[in-house]
C-alpha cells in the first residue's frame, strides 16, 4: 500500500506540470488584458503601457512562464494583480467558506442520496421508485442557479426562515454559520443527490440479483438486513467512485452557488479572477483544484481496499 500511494503521488507531478502549462498558455492566448482592466475606462494608452510594465506583462510569454514556474517551485504562487496580496494568503482567506460549503453539501448528499437510491432499488418499478428517479432526472437537469433562486424565494423571501445571502465564520457561532449555509448547501447538493441516488439504485439493483443475496434471503435475513449488510456494502465501490468523480461537478457548482449566495469562497474568487484576468490567482486556483481532484480520487482508490478485501495494491 505505501508503495502504491507513493507511486500515485509521484504520478500527480506530471499531471500538475501539464495543468500548469495548459492553464498558463490558455490565459496568455485568450484575449483580455489585466492592465486595461486595472487602468479603467478612461485611461490613456500611455497609462496602460506603464501598468503593463509594472505587472511584467510586457515580457515575452516564455520569460513570464519561466519566472512563474521558478517561483512556483519555491512555493511562491505569486501576487494577485488586483487583490494586493499574495495568492497563497488570498486562497487561505477563502478556504473556510468553500470547505464549509463543500463538506455540508457532501453531508447532505450522503445522508439523502444513498437511502433514496436504496429505497428506489428495493421498490423497483413502484411509484416510489418512479418518483425518486423523476426527482433525480429533474435534479440533474435544472441549472444550479435556478434551484438557488427558487430556494431563496421560498425559504428567505416567502417563509423568512433563512437569510438571502452571505457567510458567517464558524468562529462567530454554529447557528450563524449554519443558517447561511443551509440554502447554498441544499442548492449544491441537489445535482449531487440526483447523480449518486441513480448510481446507488443501479448498483444495489445489480447486487440484489446476485446469488449471495438470494442465499441470504433464503437463510432468513430480513429485507433491511440484506439491503444494508449485503447489497449496499457490495454496491459501495461504484458509489464511492462516482463521489470521487463528482468532485469536478462540486467544484463547478461551488463557483455558481457562491456567486448566487454571495459566499466569499474560492468559487467567487475564481469568478472574480477570471473576469478581471488576474492571471496569478487563476493559475493558483486551477492548480489547487487539480491537486484536490487528484488527491480525492487517490483516497477513493485507497478506500477500495477497505470496501472490498479482494482488492490489493
Amino acid at each position: 500500500m505505501p508503495g502504491f500511494i507513493f507511486r500515485r503521488l509521484l504520478a500527480t507531478i506530471p499531471v500538475l506540470v501539464m495543468v500548469a502549462i495548459i492553464v498558463f498558455s490558455m490565459l496568455r492566448l485568450t484575449p483580455g488584458d489585466p492592465a486595461a482592466i486595472i487602468a479603467g475606462d478612461s485611461a490613456s494608452p500611455g497609462q496602460l503601457e506603464a501598468i503593463r510594465t509594472q505587472l511584467g506583462l510586457d515580457q515575452p510569454i516564455l520569460t513570464q512562464f519561466l519566472i512563474w514556474s521558478g517561483n512556483l517551485l519555491r512555493g511562491d504562487l505569486g501576487r494577485s494583480f488586483f487583490f494586493k496580496t499574495d495568492v497563497t494568503t488570498l486562497i487561505g482567506q477563502r478556504l473556510e467558506p468553500t470547505l464549509s460549503l463543500a463538506l455540508l453539501t457532501m453531508a447532505i448528499t450522503l445522508a439523502v442520496s444513498i437511502p433514496l437510491g436504496v429505497i428506489a432499488a428495493s421498490r423497483q418499478g413502484s411509484l416510489t421508485d418512479r418518483l425518486i428517479m423523476g426527482f433525480a432526472v429533474m435534479g440533474f437537469s435544472v441549472p444550479v442557479f435556478v434551484i438557488g433562486y427558487a430556494l431563496i424565494y421560498l425559504f428567505a423571501v416567502e417563509l423568512k426562515w433563512l437569510p438571502v445571502q452571505g457567510y458567517a465564520d464558524l468562529a462567530d457561532g454554529l447557528w450563524p454559520w449554519l443558517e447561511r449555509l443551509i440554502l447554498p448547501s441544499l442548492t449544491l447538493s441537489v445535482i449531487y443527490i440526483a447523480l449518486i441516488a441513480r448510481i446507488a439504485r443501479t448498483s444495489v439493483l445489480e447486487v440484489l440479483g446476485q446469488d449471495h443475496v438470494r442465499t441470504a434471503r433464503a437463510k432468513g435475513v430480513s429485507r433491511t438486513g440484506v439491503l444494508v449488510h449485503h447489497a449496499l456494502r457490495n454496491a459501495a465501490i461504484p458509489i464511492v467512485t462516482v463521489i470521487g468523480l463528482g468532485v469536478g461537478l462540486l467544484i463547478g457548482g461551488v463557483v455558481v452557488t457562491e456567486s448566487v449566495f454571495n459566499i466569499p469562497g474560492l468559487g467567487r474568487l475564481t469568478v472574480d479572477a477570471v473576469l478581471s484576468r488576474d492571471f496569478p490567482t487563476i493559475q493558483a486556483i486551477v492548480l489547487l483544484f487539480s491537486v484536490v481532484y487528484v488527491l480525492i480520487n487517490l483516497v477513493v482508490d485507497i478506500s477500495y481496499v477497505f470496501l472490498d478485501p479482494r482488492i490489493r495494491y
Binding site: 485568450t30 484575449p31 483580455g32 488584458d33 486595461a36 482592466i37 486595472i38 487602468a39 479603467g40 475606462d41 478612461s42 485611461a43 490613456s44 494608452p45 500611455g46 497609462q47 496602460l48 506603464a50 501598468i51 510594465t53 509594472q54 488586483f82 487583490f83 494586493k84 496580496t85 488570498l90 482567506q93 477563502r94 433562486y149 431563496i152 428567505a156 423571501v157 423568512k160 437569510p163 438571502v164 445571502q165 452571505g166 458567517a168 462567530d172 457561532g173 454554529l174 447557528w175 450563524p176 454559520w177 449554519l178 456567486s259 448566487v260 449566495f261 454571495n262 466569499p264 467567487r268 474568487l269 469568478v271 472574480d272 473576469l275 478581471s276 484576468r277
Partner: protein, 532 residues
C-alpha cells in the same frame, strides 16, 4: 437520557450559544452601520493610479479635495479656506483652512497639497493640461502655497475641482511622492472616513469608519462641496456579484443601499413601500459610438459622417435602458443642462438619415468592406448597443461584422492599433460618466492628438488648436463660444458619435436611510441610518 439525546441537546445548546454570540456581535456593530452594495468590488485603493470609479468613490471616503464642484456646477473651496488670483492671472494663492488633519494625526500642510497635485498632474487628462501651463509651485508656509503659471489658464479652479476620475485628492506628502506608475500602499487621508484596512477583504467587503477628528465645512452639502458631516459609525461596502441576489437582499433588509439598480429588475421593487428608487447622479452617463481613425473605412471623414448619419439616439436608449424615465435624447456633446451644453451641429447624429448616409458612402467610394464592430455581451447597459448599431449602419449602407466578446476582452482589444486581421477593430460602443465629459479638456473623446488620443486615435490639428484656445481663455462667455465651435468641429470630423444620455437608479431602504447626497460620484457623508 440517551447519548443521542445528549448530543442533540449539546448541539442545540451550541446553536443557542452561537445565536447569542451573534446577537451580541450584531448589537455591538449595529450602531449606525450602513451596508451598501457598490457597483463594483474595491480592489485598488489608489484613485490617482487608476481611473476606476470604485477607486474614485473610495477616494471621496478617505481623502479630501482642495476645491469641489457643487450641484450648480460652481467651483467651491473645500480644504482651501481662502484663495486669490493675481491681476495678471498668473499666480493663484491658496490657504488651507484650519483643523485639517490626516487619519494618522498629522496636520495637513502645504507640502501635502503640492505633492498631491503634482502627482495627479502627471496622470489625469485635465491635470496634464494644467501642467502644460504651470511654471512652478511655491510653498509660502505650512498653510499657504502658490501656483505660478507660464501664461493665463482658464481652467485652474475647474481642474482642481474635477469631480470624477481622476479626482485631485490630497494625501500625505510621503504617499504623494509615490511615482505615478506605482500604487500607493497606505490608506491615510484627511477625508471624513477612515479606511479600516484590517477589515478589508477584497472580493467580500471594505469597511470605513467615521473620522472623529474631521472638521466639516459649515455650508450644507452640495455634491462633493460643502459640509461633509458623517452621521453613521460605519459604512460597509459589500461585494455581491449576483444582481438578483442584490435586489432580494435589499428587499429583505439585509442591505441598506444598492448603488446601481439594474434597469430590468426595477419591476421587482414595485410595491415595496420601504424602498426608494432615485437617480443620485443628475448628469448621468453618455453613450459613445467610437470609430477607429487608423483603419479603413473610418480613416475617411465622409464615411465617419455616414456612420453618424445612420445612427440615432432613441433606438440605442430604448434598447439598452428601455424605461424613458431613465434616458434622454440630447444633442449636447458636453452633457445636457450643463455649462457648455449646446446642440450645435448635432442634427445628423440625433436622428437617423439613412438616405444621407448612403449618399455620403457613395461619395466616399465605400467598397462594402465589413466594418468590424466590437460587441460587449456581459454588461447590461452595453450589451444591447452593438446589435442596434449594426442594424442602423446596415440600413445606412454599411456592411457590418459584429464580433461578440466579454467587456474585458473588448477593453483589451480596443488598444490594438493593428489591422482587423491582427486583432484590430473599426468601431465599438462604450459609456462615459457624464461628469468626466463636462468640458472640451476633460472629454477624452475629442482629444484629437493622433497617437496620444483615446482609443480610436482621432487626429485633427484644428480641433486641437480650438481646445488649446479654450484652455487659455478665462472669460466664461468666450469659453462657451469656443466649446460650441469645438463641438461643431468634432462632429464635422466625427471624433465619435454620442448616442444618448441615461441615468442609473440607486435603490435604498427609505424606512431607515435618509440624507443621501446626489452627485456624479457616490458619497456617504450626511447619510443617517434610523432604527439602529
Amino acid at each position: 437520557m440517551s447519548m443521542a439525546g445528549i448530543r442533540v441537546r449539546n448541539i442545540a445548546g451550541a446553536a443557542l450559544t452561537g445565536a447569542l454570540v451573534l446577537g451580541q456581535t450584531v448589537a455591538a456593530h449595529a450602531e449606525s452601520t450602513l451596508r451598501v452594495v457598490m457597483h463594483s468590488d474595491l480592489k485598488i485603493t489608489d484613485p490617482i493610479w487608476t481611473t476606476a470609479y470604485i477607486s474614485r468613490d473610495y477616494g471621496y471616503m478617505v481623502f479630501d479635495t482642495l476645491f469641489a464642484l457643487d450641484a450648480d456646477l460652481n467651483v467651491r473651496p473645500q480644504m482651501v479656506g481662502d484663495y486669490s488670483v493675481s491681476d495678471d492671472g498668473l499666480t493663484y494663492s491658496f490657504t488651507l483652512r484650519d483643523g485639517l488633519m490626516f487619519h494618522d494625526g498629522e496636520p495637513v500642510i502645504s507640502l501635502d497639497a503640492v505633492n498631491s497635485i503634482e502627482r495627479w498632474m502627471h496622470k489625469d487628462v485635465m491635470g496634464q493640461k494644467l501642467f502644460e501651463f504651470t511654471d512652478r509651485f511655491e510653498i509660502v508656509d505650512d498653510n499657504t502655497f502658490e501656483l505660478h503659471l507660464k501664461e493665463p489658464y482658464g481652467l485652474v479652479l475647474l481642474s482642481l475641482a474635477k469631480p470624477s476620475s481622476n479626482v485631485p485628492f490630497i494625501m500625505p506628502a510621503r504617499m504623494a511622492k509615490t511615482p505615478g506608475d506605482a500604487q500607493i500602499e497606505e490608506f491615510i487621508g484627511s477625508g471624513p472616513f477612515v479606511f479600516e484596512s484590517g477589515e478589508w477583504e477584497p472580493g467580500n467587503k471594505a469597511v470605513f469608519t467615521k473620522f472623529e477628528d474631521y472638521v466639516p465645512r459649515d455650508e450644507p452639502p452640495s455634491w462633493a462641496a460643502g459640509g461633509k458631516v458623517v452621521n453613521v459609525d460605519r459604512v460597509e461596502w459589500l461585494s455581491m456579484p449576483d444582481q438578483q441576489t442584490q435586489v432580494t437582499a435589499l428587499a429583505e433588509g439585509e442591505i441598506d443601499v444598492l448603488e446601481q439598480m439594474p434597469h430590468d429588475l426595477l419591476p421587482l421593487l414595485e410595491g415595496e413601500d420601504d424602498i426608494t428608487v432615485w437617480s443620485p447622479n443628475p448628469l448621468g452617463y453618455q453613450y459613445m459610438f467610437r470609430m477607429n481613425w487608423l483603419l479603413p473605412p473610418f480613416d475617411n471623414q465622409q464615411v465617419r459622417q455616414a456612420a453618424i448619419a445612420a445612427l440615432n439616439q432613441e433606438d440605442f436608449l430604448k434598447a439598452a435602458i428601455g424605461n424613458p424615465d431613465y434616458y434622454e435624447v440630447c444633442g449636447a456633446m458636453f452633457v445636457c443642462d450643463t455649462t457648455f451644453a449646446t446642440d450645435a451641429g448635432s442634427d445628423l447624429l440625433v436622428t437617423s438619415h439613412f438616405e444621407r448616409s448612403r449618399e455620403l458612402l457613395a461619395e466616399a467610394g465605400y467598397d462594402g468592406a465589413p466594418v468590424v464592430l466590437l460587441h460587449s455581451t456581459d454588461l447590461a447597459v452595453l450589451s444591447n448597443l452593438a446589435p442596434v448599431a449594426k442594424q442602423l449602419l446596415e440600413r445606412g449602407g454599411f456592411t457590418v461584422d459584429m464580433q461578440s466578446m466579454d467587456w474585458q476582452t473588448l477593453v483589451s482589444r480596443r488598444s490594438n492599433k493593428g489591422p482587423v486581421g491582427e486583432g484590430g477593430w473599426n468601431a465599438l460602443m462604450t459609456a462615459w460618466v457624464a461628469a468626466d465629459i463636462l468640458n472640451p479638456i476633460s472629454t477624452a473623446g475629442i482629444n484629437a492628438s493622433c497617437e496620444d488620443a483615446w482609443f480610436g486615435w482621432p487626429c485633427d490639428q484644428e480641433l486641437e488648436e480650438l481646445r488649446d484656445a479654450f484652455a487659455r481663455e478665462t472669460d466664461l462667455e468666450v469659453q462657451k463660444e469656443l466649446a460650441t465651435a469645438i463641438q461643431e468641429r468634432a462632429l464635422e470630423v466625427v471624433t465619435h458619435g454620442y448616442t444618448g444620455q441615461y441615468y442609473v437608479p440607486m435603490a435604498y431602504r427609505s424606512d431607515r436611510v435618509e440624507g443621501l447626497v446626489p452627485g456624479p460620484a457616490t458619497y456617504f457623508w450626511n447619510v443617517r441610518k434610523n432604527g439602529e
